[in-house]
C-alpha cells in the first residue's frame, strides 16, 4: 500500500510540473483532471484497512467531481470563449519550470520542518501537498488567461485537499460535501464569468482588466 501511495504522490508532483510547463490549455485541463483522479485514489489508499462505505463513496464523488465534472466545465468554457488555445504566460515556460523546481525544494524542506503529531503513512505526503498548493499559486499569478487562473485555483484547492488527506482528517461527511459543493459552484461561477469576459472583450486575457484603478488628484 505504501508503494501505491508513494507512486501516487510522485505522479501528483509530475502533474504539477505538467501544469506549469504545458503550452496548450487542453493539456493543462487534463493535468488538473488527472490530479483529481489521484486525489480519489489517495483518499482510498490512506484509509487502508479500515475503509468505510461512506469514506469510499466520498472519495469516488470527489474524484468524479474533480476529474470529470470540473474539467468538463473548463473545456466547455474554453470552447465557448473560443480562446486561443495557448496558455500565454507572463513568464516563459522555462522560468515556470525552474520556479516549480525551487518550490519543490522549498516544499521538501518545509515538509521536514513541520512535524506531524502522528507519523504520516508517507514522508512525501506533506511536501507533495504543499508543492501542489504552491504550483497553483504560481499559475494564478503568472498566467494571463482567466481560464488558466481558474486551473491554478483548482490546483491550489487540490493541494489543500491532499493535505487534509495527509493528516487523515476525519471531517464529517456533511462538511466534506459542503467543501466540494463550494469548489464546484465556485468553478461554475468562474466559468460563467469567463464566458462574459470573452463576450465583453473578445478575449479572456486578464491583463486587459485594468480599467479600475485609483485616480488620485
Amino acid at each position: 500500500m505504501a508503494q501505491v501511495i508513494n507512486s501516487t504522490l510522485v505522479l501528483l508532483v509530475l502533474s504539477g510540473f505538467t501544469l506549469l510547463g504545458s503550452s496548450r490549455l487542453a493539456a493543462c485541463i487534463r493535468a488538473v483532471a488527472f490530479q483529481g483522479m489521484l486525489l480519489g485514489l489517495l483518499a482510498i489508499c490512506l484509509q487502508g484497512a479500515n475503509v468505510t462505505m461512506t469514506g469510499l463513496l466520498l472519495a469516488v464523488t470527489t474524484a468524479a467531481v474533480k476529474s470529470v465534472l470540473l474539467p468538463w466545465l473548463l473545456l466547455r468554457a474554453m470552447r465557448e470563449a473560443e480562446a486561443v488555445r495557448e496558455v500565454e504566460p507572463l513568464i516563459s515556460f522555462n522560468v515556470s519550470i525552474i520556479a516549480g523546481a525551487a518550490v519543490l525544494i522549498l516544499s521538501l524542506w518545509l515538509g521536514q520542518r513541520l512535524q506531524l503529531p502522528s507519523q504520516p503513512p508517507s514522508s512525501l505526503l506533506v511536501p507533495a501537498a504543499l508543492f501542489t498548493c504552491l504550483t497553483g499559486m504560481i499559475v494564478i499569478v503568472s498566467r494571463r488567461k482567466a481560464l488558466t487562473q481558474v486551473m491554478g485555483y483548482l490546483a491550489l484547492e487540490n493541494g489543500v485537499y491532499t493535505f487534509g488527506a495527509a493528516v487523515a482528517l476525519r471531517l464529517p461527511v456533511l462538511v466534506e460535501l459542503g467543501i466540494l459543493l463550494d469548489v464546484f459552484v465556485g468553478v461554475f461561477v468562474m466559468g460563467i464569468a469567463i464566458f462574459h469576459i470573452s463576450r465583453e472583450f473578445d478575449h479572456i486575457d486578464t491583463d486587459k482588466l485594468v480599467a479600475l484603478t485609483d485616480h488620485l488628484s
Binding site: V160, L171, G186, I197, F201
Partner: protein, 487 residues
Amino acid sequence: MILLLLILPAGAGIIAFFLASDRLRRSLLVLTASAHFALSLLTWFFQPAPSMAGWLAEDALGKLVETLTSVLFFAVSFYAVAYLREEQREAHSDFEEGFIFSNAREASFTGCLLLFLAAMTLVAVSQQLALLWVAVEATTLASAPLIYFHRHHRSLEATWKYLLICSVGIALALLGVFFLAVAATNPDGSTTSMVVRDLSQNARHLNVPWVKAAFILLLVGYGTKMGLAPFHTWLPDAHSEAPSVASALLSGALLNCAFLGILRTQEICVAGGLAPFTDQLLLIFGLLSMAVAAVFILGQTDYKRMLAYSSVEHMGILAVGVGLGGAAVFGSALHMINHSLTKAMLFLVAGNILAVYRTKSTEGVAGVLAVLPFSGALWLLGFFAITGSPPFGIFLSEFAILKGALDQGQTLVAIIYLSLVAIILAAMAGPALAMAQGNPREPITPPVRSIALRTAPAMLAVGVLLFGVYIPPALTRVLREAAHLLN
C-alpha cells in the same frame, strides 16, 4: 429557531429565482427580510437552543453579527425594491463612458440577495470551524453575481477580481482550518472536535507551532475577505462597481462576517495563551490597513471608492481593537455595530446621489444639500459619524479603543492610530463637504423617486444617532460577553 433563521432566506432565495412576477418577488424579498429581522429580535429575548450537536449555536459574538446583518438587510430590502423598480427598463447608458448596457435578470439578483443573507446567517451561527469555512465561501459565491448586476466591462472586472482573490484567500483559510485540526490531534491519534468551544477548552493541549501557523493562514485568508491591507485590492473595485444596495451589504454585513472568522480563531488562541503572538499580528495588519486607507483616501476622486477605502480603515480599527485586548475589545465590538450602520447608510445615500448626478466623481457633484435636501443632510450626518466626530457612536467606540491602548501603555500604537484617524478625517472632509455644499455646476431638477430610497438610509441613521448617546443595557451585556470571549 436557528434552523428557521437559515431555512427562511435560503428557501425564499431559491423560490425567487423561479418567480416570474416582479411584484410577487419583490414582496417576497421584503417579507423574508422582515420575518428574518423579527426572528433575530426574538433571539434577544429567548436564547435559541443549539442545534446539530452544538455546531449551530448563537453565542454573544454570533448574535451581534447575526442581528446586525439582519437589521441592515431589513433596511436595504426596502431600498432594493424601489431601486429595482427604477432599473426595470431594458437599456441603460453608462454614466462614465456613455455606452449602452443591460442589467442582469432581476430574479437572479433578488435570489442571490436572499441566498447571500442565508450564507451570512450561517457564518454567524456556525460554531464548527470547517462549517464556518463552507459558509464564508458561500457568501463569496452568492454575492459575486450581485456585483455584476450592471452588465458592463468595469463591473465584470470587479467581479472577476472579487471572485478570484477571495477564493484564493479562502482556500488558504481552509488550509488553516486543516492546520488547526493537526494541532488538535493528540499523539495517540485521537482528535478534538472542530467546535470552537471544545477547542478553546482544550486550547492548552494544542500543538503550539501548528496553531500559530494556522492562525497566520486564517488571518491572511479571512483577512482577504475582510479587506485588511495588503490583501484588500478587490474591495474598492467591488464596492465602487456594485449597485449601492450590494455595496451597502458588502461593507456593512459581509466584512463583519469575515472578521468573525478571524475572531473565532482568536478565541481559541487566547484560551491557549497565545494572545501575545496573535495580538501583535492583528495590530500590525490593523495599523497597516489604516495607513493604506489613509494614502488612498487622500486625493481620492471617486466617492464610492472613498467610502470603500474608509471601510478598509475601519476594518483596520477593528483589528487594532482586538489586537490591543482588554477594554479595547469592547470598543471593537461596539465599533463593528457603529461602522456597519453608518457605512451602509452612506452607501445607500451615495446611490441616491449617483442616480441624480450620474457621476461618481467627487468633483462632478456639488450642492447635494440644495438639490436633495434629505439625502444631503444624511450624507453630512454620515460623514461626521464615519470620521469619528461626537456625538455619534463611532466617536465613542474609537475613543474606547484609544483609551484601551493608553491604559496598556501602548503609546506608540495610540499615536499612530490617532494620527491616521485624523489624517483620514482631514482627507475626507474636503470632498465630502464640497459635495454637500454650494450649488450644482448645471441646474439639476431631481426626478421624483420612491420614498423608500430615503426612508431606508433614514432607518439606519436612527441607529447611528441612538448609539452615540444611548446603548441599551441588553446590548451592553452582549457586548461584554463578546469581549469576555476574546480576553
